[in-house]
Amino acid sequence: MTTPTQIKPKPKLWRVSGTLPGFGLSLGYTLVYLSLIVLIPLAMIVLRTFDLSFAEFLAKVGSPRALAALKISFGTALIAASINVFIGLLLAWVISRYRFPGCRIVDALIDLPIALPTAVAGIALTAIYAPNGWLGQWLVPLGIQVAFSPLGIVVALVFVGLPFVVRTVQPVLQDIEHEQEEAAASLGATAAQSFFRVTLPTVAPALITGFALAFARGVGEYGSVIFIAGNMPMVSEITPLLIVTQLEQYDYAAATALALVMLIASFALLLAINYLQSRLASRGTR
């Protein structure tokens, strides 16, 4: 008779906990694939920018056209993400709290901007808001020019950013103990007081996370914007489009310098979002 052999933990040089097999293989594969597809190509932007002197870099990034494009990209993304906070909260609230005919369809449709190719969204929004479009024909006589103006960029970015706020706020709203709100009501709080004092502080971290996600997406967005924006330099030209234009003119240095600015901004946003999400997750575990 053999006695069951005792599994002895192997001595480890590098602290890895977990007794399952395949750690070295899976980590190695992950790192190689990540480096080949993501890290080395992205590093090219940093390396290529080092070909420029710092003064040249500043001249490329600080040119009036580049500055205007950066201002438009970040400004419209900021406005659109702020709008998304409000309509995202409204949609998340209605979907998670009320039952009404068509509520499951609304819930499913929220993800449309993620599923619909950006170019398709772009031409559809442009056709709707163009001066002869479904909404444009009513808005343009009122003096509201949406298509081919910065306002069009905001509309497109509200569209692409919509799912982010809804999908981060929705689970939190579903988790809030109804008792908390009911307790507030039984203690004499009005519905508004209970919303502002109980519900809003609870969903605030999720709202901020959703805002950051929508903002990050909006800053870099290209496909849905270029059709509706009109793309006038200094007025409605977004940074990604300027990068493409510079590439087409073989001005690689300018394109790379601008790309580096965008890359640093998105990396900072990503770190902020991860931090917010980890805080959100730790709040969720009671």
Binding site: G22, F23, I114, A119, S278
Partner: protein, 286 residues
């Protein structure tokens, strides 16, 4: 409690109406615009546009690129999730952030990085030119850009699912004598199947619909390096709106199928989770 509900009735109607209005304005209207725009010049024009030679070539290229990019990222996603979710090691959260990086980067930059590597002026440009390979303005570049933008989708869905599952089942299987592969195929895979499917659906939708990144590396050669979204852009810029919307309607259809599948997978996963909870509850009771 009564006050909360009765005072809320008027509010409830307003909020639901507001949510429906936003859904209609931002989500239903663009979708309707694509479908109605597609058949605005009659069914013959529609059929001609979607069966035209270049449209079919674009469809073929889109399917080819997706068929390469999705399986590669599927394998990566499973491997990366295994090493991140089943083991603790230093640098783990940094690795998660790096995997998320392609989501935060502007699509235009996702294309630009491969131009900097493989373009005529790129690092490997000269060598590739001498040996007669083309990556940029050719299919390999489109495949690379698509892999980049869809890189995190499967991994992101699987990491939380695998983490929630823990290591107990796998460790039990191994201690009962199963091999590593048997454990993965018989124990891990059935537990993550819905998360896996969910990630693949999102990955597939983005791969077929990607516009910005692909547009930078494609060169827009009709019949050769045009994917469906790029074909939509060309038709639209030629003021051939009916044809542009006709081809776009194929992509809109893809988006709708994606939403339906996604909702179905979500409800399946939800049901499985509840069933699992019930069995553990039963075990506790008996």
């Amino acid at each position: 409690m009564n006050r909360l509900h009765e005072g809320g009735r008027w509010w409830r109607v307003c909020l639901i109406a507001g949510a429906l209005a936003i859904t209609g304005l931002f989500l239903v209207l663009p979708l309707a615009m694509v479908l109605i725009g597609a058949i605005s010049k009659g069914i013959d024009v529609y059929l001609a546009a979607v069966t035209e030679r270049h449209a079919l070539a674009a469809l073929r290229l889109t399917l080819t690129v997706t068929a390469i990019a999705v399986p590669l990222n599927l394998v990566f996603g499973v491997v990366a999730a295994w090493c991140i979710a089943k083991f603790e090691f230093p640098g783990r959260s940094a690795l998660i952030t790096l995997i998320d990086l392609p989501l935060a980067v502007s699509p235009v930059i996702s294309g630009l990085i491969y131009v900097l590597l493989f373009g005529a002026q790129g690092v490997f440009g000269e060598w590739l030119g001498e040996h007669g390979f083309r990556v940029i303005f050719a299919v390999p570049g489109i495949v690379l850009a698509t892999i980049f933008v869809t890189f995190p989708f499967v991994a992101r869905e699987l990491i939380p699912v695998m983490q929630a599952q823990g290591r107990d089942y796998e460790e039990a299987a191994l201690s009962l004598g199963a091999s590593g592969w048997q454990t993965f195929l018989r124990v891990t895979l059935p537990n993550i199947k819905w998360g896996l499917l969910y990630g693949v659906i999102l990955c597939n939708a983005r791969a077929m619909g990607e516009f910005g990144a692909v547009s930078v590396v494609s060169g827009h050669i009709r019949g050769k390096t045009n994917t469906l979204p790029l074909h939509v852009e060309i038709l639209y810029n030629e003021y051939n709106h009916a044809a542009a919307f006709a081809v776009a309607s194929l992509l809109a259809l893809l988006a709708l199928v994606t939403l339906v599948l996604k909702t179905w997978v979500e409800s399946k996963a939800h049901r499985d989770r509840q069933a699992a909870n019930n069995t553990t509850n039963d075990e506790i009771l008996t």
